[in-house]
């Protein structure tokens, strides 16, 4: 690390997660990114260490430079200044062909082989808790160069066997992923609010690679249902830099992704004016951010 890095003094756990995730991206790569915090992480990467990374979103826009705050993956502002807007099947076809180096998605459950559940908890099709379904998750997990995962750390989310295997990780480990006919290299990192997990290249098993500042491996272990492997040289997660935190806060000044601004909008009286104000302010923010990148 260069000597002139200034670390942030205060940051939220969500900001730590996003900043840590941002470090998983590399310059010049193509990245397929999901909704919410994943997009914040990718944007942070692009605005810092990976200025020539191209972000694509499921809606079909590739390499855009939105003029205003992006409120969701399919927000029409994501079409602004895009290199291309493709049909969704074509974009996912490009991904299946191997044109996407990295993908980042979330999940409701994960098992020790990095298999993900974003469909249902507690049975299927009769379930206790229904969530969104695969969307592009299964496709990205099947074919993307390397898969990044961002999720909350809870014992019931880190399970021995996912209730429904929506997105393949290393399946049952070993060469089972390859035998199933899958192309992408599978999960590369899981980043939670407690630590960073990676996978043994041979067995496909998850291990704890880094603990977030102040946490011990044992604490994290306690929040995992399966027998968690711990790297012999388990490290401590680097704090976010001041620059990373500033970017995140300017990208999401009202905590729509990383915080709790949502309920203000839900106010039938003031919500809409508040939203219009956010959008208005965001033109300037986006302009400043993109002008840094010469756009």
């Amino acid at each position: 690390m260069a000597a002139n890095i200034v670390y942030a003094n205060d940051y939220t756990l969500m900001e730590l997660m996003a900043a840590t995730m941002a470090r998983e991206f590399r310059d010049m790569e193509t990245a397929f990114v999901g909704i919410g915090p994943p997009l914040i992480a990718a944007m942070v990467a692009k605005l810092t260490d990976a200025p020539n990374m191209t972000i694509a979103v499921e809606g079909g826009a590739i390499g855009s430079s939105p003029r205003r705050l992006l409120t969701c993956i399919a927000d029409s502002t994501i079409d602004e200044r895009a290199y291309a807007c493709l049909p969704m099947w074509r974009l996912f076809g490009d991904q299946q062909r191997g044109f996407f180096d990295v993908g980042l998605i979330g999940a409701a459950q994960i098992d020790k082989y990095g298999n993900l559940n974003t469909t249902a908890l507690g049975g299927y099709p009769n379930c206790k808790v229904r969530v969104a379904g695969s969307g592009g998750g299964n496709d990205i997990g099947s074919s993307v160069g390397r898969l990044l995962i961002m999720m909350r750390q809870e014992k019931r989310r880190f399970v021995d066997r996912v209730d429904y295997l929506t997105t393949p990780g290393f399946l049952s480990g070993g060469d089972s992923r390859q035998k199933a006919g899958l192309r992408g290299s599978g999960p590369s990192a899981v980043i939670t609010d407690m630590g960073v997990f990676r996978f043994d290249p041979k067995t496909g098993e998850m291990y704890l690679a880094q603990c977030h500042p102040g946490l011990e491996p044992e604490t994290i272990k306690y929040n995992v249902s399966f027998e968690l492997n711990i790297s012999p040289d388990v490290g401590v997660t680097e704090a976010p830099t001041q620059e990373q935190v500033e970017i995140m806060r300017s990208l999401d000044p009202f905590g729509l992704y990383l915080g709790t601004g949502r309920q203000v909008m839900a106010d039938p009286e003031k919500g809409f004016d508040f939203y219009m104000e956010i959008l208005d302010k965001s033109y300037e923010t986006m302009e400043t951010l993109f002008s840094k990148m010469g756009k």
Binding site: R67, R68, S76, T77, W89, Q95, Q96, A132, G136, N138
Partner: protein, 313 residues
């Protein structure tokens, strides 16, 4: 032998009421287009208002509060084929959860795919093929529970490959930015799978922000996503995707979704919402007046500050 599918190049402009009533029936297999952007919300409301029931719905990515969930909450849906159904930034979809967790208002059958494999179903159907191969789904639980997906040995590589069946909705309803009177539809920005969906369906209703002269369509033939020969009805519905955005025309109304999301937290809240916003108005124009034209115009100005067709900066 194929059926004659091509629709004639005649004036197809009609009201949404007419289009839905003419083409959608009880038991219809429906595909609503859009991909977060360009959600055909006005049409969903009209199908609801006409009380079409025993519907079978097929979507790639369905957006809560403005899309298929409305019909599910009203108990009009028997089967739902999807890749994704959620609120995104709008959060949890009470209707969808109640239907699948508790069978409220009644149980629905669900058949799941991923975004690409659903796209391949439409692509297959759009080309008159009965299936398409895909390298997704393998090793997952999706084909375990969905018996319409077949995993075979690839006849060229010997590796496993998944096959998914063509999806041929009876009616596809797609909201677009520009369409002429005979049905040549141009989509700007996000296309989703609507190029394929329109061809896959037996009948197509286009709702459009603007009806433009054919001469204007012909100035940019490369932007025509859906040729007229797929289209049965053209309906002029400005702000027809309200709630979600419509690229080059208006931005998302994020607070709207948050407010609706809160209302939907209970079935009772949903019913009251539907009573007020669907049955409480005559048509989409009534809905727009209720939302308020000023609010809609502010959303349009937000979108068009930099991005307006032909004037993109």
């Amino acid at each position: 032998m194929q059926k004659k599918l091509s629709k004639a190049p005649v004036n197809k402009v009609m009201s949404l009421k007419q289009a839905v009533s003419a083409l959608v029936s009880d038991g219809s297999y429906l595909g609503f287009g859009g991909i977060g952007d360009r959600t055909p919300t006005a049409a969903v409301h009209e199908v609801a208002r006409q009380g079409k029931k025993h519907l079978r719905l097929v979507s790639d990515t369905s957006v809560s509060f403005v899309h298929d969930s409305i019909l599910i909450g009203l108990g009009l849906v028997d089967k739902f084929e999807i890749a994704y159904n959620w609120g995104g930034i709008w959060g949890s979809d009470g209707v969808f959860r109640r239907a699948l967790e508790k069978g409220i208002p009644h149980p629905i059958e669900i058949e799941e795919y991923s975004n690409l494999s659903m796209g391949m179903r439409f692509l297959a159907a759009s080309m008159g093929l009965s299936f398409m191969p895909v390298k997704s789904l393998l090793g997952s639980d999706i084909p375990v529970y969905n018996k319409n997906i077949k995993i075979i040995e690839d006849p060229y590589t010997g590796e496993p490959v998944a096959l998914v069946p063509a999806a041929h909705p009876d009616v596809a309803i797609i909201h677009v930015q520009r369409c002429d009177q005979i049905g040549n539809a141009q989509i700007l920005g996000h296309i989703g799978d609507d190029d394929s969906l329109a061809r896959a369906a037996e009948h197509v209703i286009i709702t459009t922000e603007e009806i433009v002269p054919s001469e204007e369509i012909c100035r940019f033939p490369n932007l025509t996503t859906i040729p007229y020969y797929c289209v049965d009805a053209v309906v002029h519905v400005p702000f027809g995707s309200h709630g979600r955005g419509c690229s080059y025309y208006y931005a998302m109304d994020v607070p709207y979704g948050n407010q609706v999301g809160n209302a939907w937290a209970t079935q009772d809240g949903f019913d009251r919402w539907a009573e007020e916003w669907i049955y409480g108005v005559d048509d989409w124009d009534g809905y727009c007046r209720k939302i308020g034209w000023e609010r809609l115009m502010r959303l349009a100005r937000a979108e068009q500050r930099y991005q307006k067709f032909g004037e993109v900066r």
